[in-house]
Amino acid sequence: MKKQSLVLVVIAAIIVIAGIFFITNQNIQKDVSDDQKKIGFIYIGPPGDHGWTYMHDVGRQYLEKELGDSVSTTYIENVPENADAVRSIRKLAESGHDLIFTTSFNYMDQTLEVASEFPDVKFEHATGFKRADNVSTYSARFYEGRTVIGHIAGKMTETNTIGYIVSFPIPEVIRGINAFYLAASKVNPDVKIKIIWVYSWYDPGKEADAANTLINQGADIIVQHTDSYAPCQAAEKAGVLAFGQASNQEAFCPNAHMTAIEDIWGPYYAAKAQAVVDGTWSSEDTWQGFKDGMVEMSPYNEKLLSSDLIAEAKAIEEGIENGTIHSFEGPIYNQAGELVVKEGDVADDGMLASMMFYVQGIDGEVPQ
């Protein structure tokens, strides 16, 4: 009896381990012809999140379609932002990949570590700032989209209270809050934003709680910088308005979703992959917005927004594109009332990249 049980346990354990192995490795393809360039992607979440990772995967598929047979792509999903990432990145480098995209901020040091071991492999790290001869960085100017939705929110709010759900206090998120508030207060000086930090990129339950809390406190527009569409759903249920995040989420909240800021990675991925195929790849820093099509607005919801307002929003998009409008135009004051951007100036990229303060008019402090 005992021996038999032991055998059964061992078999069960092998099945479970094999199953886990199968699930984590099913996306690693091995059969590739020699002249093809292999492009690898490291994802922080599942491509099914309908947010951040989903849009990177859309970019990957675009790359595959554009370059056809000259490349093949692979990805590893759900890679945690810790030492484990080194293993995953190295796995791609070792298996003959020529170009590897690591698509989250906290893969920064891990990317550089593996890059130093594989000088012939090219690396592209999203939203980071550390580069090397074979490591480029790239990011999108999402804050330009925040200027557009800030304008819409300022015009649409009736309670003058806007609820803003945020993940972690990092420059990208703070920059978004500031750009949003500057645009909203420009068209509606009475507007107030209520901010809730949920300390998670992705927890649908908590995001819904935060949205409901804000609505309960009188917010009639919900803005989010977290990854699930739960806040938009909560807004739909409560009969208030919202903006989608990272991808078009109108299908989930058709009566609340006014528009969304979309991340468009495809053309960039295709260009960089083409550069590797042509042998012209070089290390550089890319930060693109509306102008280069890396950030786009989802179709404006005509049921909710007047045609005048849609025209205004489109005019802002265009203004940012041709440089007549900037999200951070002086004069801008910080909360202490000090002038940080002079009249006639715009905030430079250095200030934007390290922005860790709220502009004047936003209540509360940036969490430390």
């Binding site: 479970v16 599942p46 099914g48 998670s200 709680d209 809390t213 309960n216 699930s228 759903q233």
Partner: protein, 289 residues
């Protein structure tokens, strides 16, 4: 503060705490019979995804609920077979169940994530959760079957000597716990945040486990504890939105810190007796010994 605001806050607390009550009360019964099931997170995810998929495919809430429950019965049945009949290590098997559940739910749900569904009102579940806690409390303290469950958890050899079927009792409590976890998962994907996305329970299974210890294995304390955990989380959100500065990370750690403190108390044996921890918790039962 006006009355509407307070009612609104209570409403959000009720909605967000209910999954903890379901998963917690199930685990409490399992642990009372002397079995530690660390697989809650996995059970919840599989319960959530099976309910969601069935709802998408059939459009019928009743079928989706039944399938979600069946998934809990099957998975916890496998767990019970492993730990009771094959006498595998409960902690290792529970962890394996969680890892397995995370992977299985992700695989099953891949095609369905991002399908919009019509959510179900959470209020039925909230009412059931209260009734459940009181029934479990009554069952454990006032009925003969409840006494048998406790006897099995306190000393399985004595219970066996008295003629009670230890294995059968534990099968019953493990499957009850599994079904409650599936219901918690079902509630999350159908009522709380009507959607399916991988890993959407976001650690609530672990909080429920902590809650059982925090409640020192007493049903009514579990209810109070769940509402303290849930209430604190919602209160800190409200304070943030009112502009009060709070270290949010610390509030996220609160359930675990509170549980650690209770664990420190329990580790002294005299207090432990008073706190009603089942003595046979996590000790495998061998019939011939």
């Amino acid at each position: 503060m006006n009355i509407e605001l307070i009612i609104g806050i209570l409403n959000i607390v009720l909605i967000s705490t209910t999954p903890l009550v379901f998963a917690g009360i199930g685990e409490l019964v399992t642990e009372k019979s002397g079995v530690l099931n660390l697989g809650l997170e996995g059970l919840m995810l599989v319960g959530a995804v099976t309910g969601f998929i069935t709802l998408v495919l059939t459009g019928n809430y009743f079928y989706s609920l039944i399938l979600s429950i069946i998934s809990g019965v099957i998975l916890s049945g496998i767990f019970a077979f492993l730990v009771l009949n094959l006498m595998t290590n409960q902690i290792a098997t529970g962890l394996a169940l969680t890892i397995f559940g995370i992977g299985l739910s992700a695989m099953l749900g891949k095609k369905f994530s991002g399908t919009p569904i019509e959510g179900l009102s959470p209020y039925y579940f909230i009412i059931i959760s209260f009734l459940l806690v009181f029934s479990v409390g009554y069952f454990l303290s006032k009925t003969k079957s409840g006494l048998i469950v406790r006897a099995v958890g306190e000393n399985h050899n004595s219970a066996y000597a008295l003629g009670y079927n230890v294995i059968k009792t534990r099968y019953f409590t493990i499957i009850f716990g599994g079904v409650m976890s599936s219901l918690a998962g079902y509630y999350i994907s159908i009522c709380y945040a009507p959607m399916w996305q991988e890993g959407m329970t976001a650690g609530r299974g672990w909080i429920a486990l902590a809650l059982v210890v925090f409640a020192t294995w007493k049903p009514w304390r579990l209810l109070v504890g769940a509402y303290i955990f849930g209430g604190v989380a919602i209160m800190q959100m409200n304070l943030q939105a009112f502009g009060v500065e709070l270290p949010g990370q610390i509030f996220n750690m609160m359930p675990y810190i509170a549980t650690l403190i209770v664990l420190v108390f329990i580790s002294s044996n005299k207090v432990r007796l008073k706190l009603s921890a089942p003595s046979c918790l996590n000790i495998p039962y061998e019939k011939n010994s």
